[in-house]
Symmetry: C2
Subunit: 250 residues, 2 copies
């Protein structure tokens, strides 16, 4: 039986305001919850008795048994899979000196939670451990983003920063890459194995103030060159192509 106050808490976590206030976020489904459980403190776990007996080693501050109909009422999913967990958001720090020796991502107002989730999953795949998000980028802990990350949140650290100030602090210490229509062909350009890769907003790309801080402009060429095609790639797709090319070179 889930108390009214718990139902209210869970519903409130769909809103960023309440996630910020409480420092909590929701994850649903066996794979996601078991992927995240070793990395984040589980504040509350609500699951069906069969789920709990199959996942006896899961740890949580509080565990509530519920039947599937009760889970349906609190779930954001079309077909809840028997478990919903409330985790504490992590607080990460980063060492600026370490950034000089690895590849990281910076997101300039990526707005769609699904795109952000896809990008975090790509970062995870390509061994990028730090993603720096501008203040207007979607919230990494919104239910939609969390579900779209497919567990990548357990391995990729998301930092919310004033992107302008952050990139200014990187200037001169490491190359700052970004994709532009007038950039150099990424497939023929020299790429380093450290640096910051900036990806821009879905509609507007990289903003002018951030563009000034980009030291290496890249172009993902379409094929055949000069053909009329879609004007741009989805930001998740572009992130994959850029990160894939950096990692292919190693």
């Amino acid at each position: 039986m889930i108390s009214k106050s718990k139902i209210k808490l869970i519903a409130s976590l769909s809103q960023k305001k309440f996630r910020d206030e409480t420092g909590l976020f929701i994850a649903e489904g066996t794979k996601l919850v078991t992927d995240l459980a070793p990395s984040f403190q589980c504040f509350l776990l609500i699951a069906t008795p069969p789920w709990l007996s199959e996942n006896m080693d899961i740890k949580a501050d509080e565990i509530i048994e519920a039947d599937i109909d009760e889970l349906k009422k609190i779930s954001n999913q079309k077909s809840p899979q028997g478990v919903l967990a409330v985790f504490r958001q992590p607080t990460y720090t980063y060492n600026p000196l370490e950034l000089n020796h690895k590849l990281s991502l910076a997101l300039d107002d990526v707005q769609d939670p699904g795109n952000l989730g896809t990008i975090l999953r790509i970062a995870d795949w390509f061994g990028i451990t730090d993603v720096f998000c501008s203040e207007y980028t979607a919230d990494a802990f919104s239910p939609k983003t969390v579900q779209a990350t497919m567990g990548a949140l357990a391995r990729v650290k998301v930092h919310t920063v004033n992107l302008n100030e952050f990139l200014q602090s990187c200037a001169g210490k490491l190359p700052i890459y970004g994709t532009f229509m007038d950039g150099e062909n990424i497939y023929s350009k020299t790429l380093t194995q450290h640096g910051m890769i900036v990806m821009g907003n879905e509609g507007n790309g990289i903003s002018p103030s951030i563009e000034k801080l980009v030291t290496e402009k890249l172009l993902i060429p379409n094929y055949p060159a000069g053909q009329v095609t879609s004007e741009s790639l989805n930001v998740g797709v572009a992130t994959a192509l850029v990160c894939g090319e950096f990692r292919r070179r190693t």
Copy 2:
């Protein structure tokens, strides 16, 4: 003023059954409608007077003026942009001999309309003109897919086929590529500039019967090799990485 029968028709086109029966589909928004208009017959165009005066050269069998509140009632979008068009679905044929000289995509039950739209946009970007969809792949003409293609539908031909029979007909004539966990590293493997690239279902990958027809198994390596990461990439992201690598080699 939009008649009740038109409102009913437009609502019905959210369902595949009615799209199949009528051979029609819906597109919304200025960019999408003006991108598709030169390629498809516009059966019905509903737009605000300002939109019509800015797009006087658009051709349609029937044009209805409507105010933004009326458009909101029939729109699938959160913020309708002043135009909704009903187009006739194209009927495409393909020449099997031509397939032997180009790169094409085959989709084995890609289920999410958004993923299908992303894949069609990637195909367009990389100059892939034919996409062969299994019968259980999402419908390319569903409103969600059409919007996600961002106009790529005007340039990419989508064929619905019995994928097993279709790939059997390709066997021996052109290489059939697919991505698998036990494939060869795509970055070091010889790739041809013609062939069929099979992409699989979101949850299950390429089905066993289709796997038997794949002649070249590819692996998109994660980084660093052997690291625990997300177990798989989103199918749109994987499509982008594969197509990008084929085109990079040219």
